[in-house]
């Protein structure tokens, strides 16, 4: 046993490949046998991933979900930003440049609406919860955009660490919500072609958009990703500056 653990420890990323492969296989089996394929296996696997992330957090008290458990360290490497971004870029292989150019304007408009909707409603929630200072309001509103925009904004404005933690939590929950709701609601909002996938960048969170689209229809991933990837940057630009000043003026 000790030897096996040593092998696992030395080869974390390989263990990660195996663990994710097994999870994907079990999810696919569950999708086909139990649900008759009504929910795609990848959607179940992503959802189970979130559940395991929760379980990992409960067991270790760490902040990286399952990958805080030593033998699953490699899952964190595989799911880290380097592999995530690398794989997202590779999805461009299946995208048509022509379609992206055609829907570029729609993508841009959706980005701006996306930042505004999430920021304003995030600020409104914080207001309802009793926050009245512009710094905290803007930080929580930024957290509603993504879990990166939140802390970047909070740090720039000098928000308290409690508020920054709150903004990260809101951002992570947003990613989870987009991941789960997208495959469920895709049909209802006619999210079914390149153009609508690019407009779906309105949701921001490139992890959530890409995960949600992957569970909906993998062909749509590159179109959603190409817009969503600009969202965090635009959010980091607007939230601590223009949007923060707007709140200050309104207060």
């Amino acid at each position: 046993m000790e030897e096996l653990l040593k092998v696992f420890d030395k080869n974390a990323l390989i263990v990660g490949f195996l663990a994710v492969g097994l999870l994907a296989y079990l999810s696919d089996l569950f999708s086909k046998k139990v649900l008759n394929g009504r929910i795609p296996g990848s959607a179940i696997a992503i959802f189970l991933g979130l559940v395991l992330g929760y379980v990992g957090g409960v067991f270790t008290g760490g902040d990286k979900g399952l990958s805080d458990i030593p033998i699953f360290r490699g899952v964190g490497v595989l799911g880290g930003s380097m592999f995530r971004d690398f794989a997202i870029v590779a999805t461009a292989l299946g995208a048509s440049f022509l379609l992206i150019k055609k829907s570029g304007l729609l993508g841009l408009i959706s980005l701006i609406f996306g930042i505004l909707i999430f920021f304003v409603s995030g600020v409104a929630m914080a207001w309802l919860w009793g926050y009245r200072d512009a710094v905290s309001l803007a930080t929580i509103g930024a957290g509603a955009c993504t879990y990166i925009v939140g802390p970047v904004t909070g740090a720039a404005l000098g928000a308290s660490s409690e508020v920054i933690a709150l903004s990260i939590a809101a951002g992570v929950l947003k990613t989870i919500a987009v991941t789960i709701f997208t495959p469920i609601l895709a049909e209802k909002i006619s999210l079914n072609d390149a153009g609508s996938a690019m407009a779906f960048g309105i949701m921001g969170t490139s992890s959530g958009v890409a995960a949600g689209l992957a569970a909906t229809d993998p062909k749509l991933v590159p179109y959603g990703a190409v817009t969503a990837t600009f969202y965090t940057g635009l959010g980091c630009l607007l939230c601590p500056s223009l949007l923060y000043y707007l709140i200050e003026i309104l207060l």
Binding site: V20, A24, A45, I46, F47, G49, L50, V51, Y54, G57, K64, G65, L66, V75, G76, L78, G79, F83, R84, D85, F86, A87, I88, V89, A90, A92, L93, F97, I100, S110, F113, I117, F118, G122, M125, W129, A144, V152, I168, A170, V172, L173, K174, I176, A177, F181, L185, I189, A199, F200, I202, M203, S206, A225, V226, T229, F230, G233, C236, L237
Partner: protein, 119 residues
């Protein structure tokens, strides 16, 4: 060769990320702006160029396609490494501020599509 495809993908990735960092610095924020998006566009442009030159070979494509197909497993691994517990247990405000805006955005999305199709 397979590695040519992987190398081309890596080249696009690094160049895109670099542009993203530069753009972030240019507009004065400490963050990468659209690095992944730039990388995707660079990869697509290189693909067009390679196709035109006749360099776009099957084996090279499979080097990129491997990572294209690894995308969903990577997302599963990412979901499993999120701080789900802290997010759920950090209070009602985090939950509300995380979820209500998503519902609003879903409700708004069809209007955006409709408005855009009219024009």
């Amino acid at each position: 060769m397979l590695i040519y495809g992987v190398a081309l993908l890596s080249f696009s990735y690094l160049l895109g990320q670099w542009l993203g960092e530069l753009l972030g610095k240019l507009i004065g924020i400490n963050s990468n702006v659209g690095g992944v998006g730039f990388a995707m566009i660079i990869l697509m442009l290189l693909k067009e160029l390679f196709e035109r030159k006749g360099w776009w070979k099957h084996e090279m494509i499979s080097g990129i396609d491997f990572w294209n197909k690894m995308y969903i497993p990577v997302v599963i691994a990412m979901a499993a490494s999120l701080n789900v517990k802290a997010a759920i247990s950090s209070g009602n405000l985090a939950i509300v501020a995380g979820i209500i805006p998503v519902i609003l955005a879903f409700a708004f999305f069809p209007f955006l599509m409709k408005a855009f199709k009219h024009n």
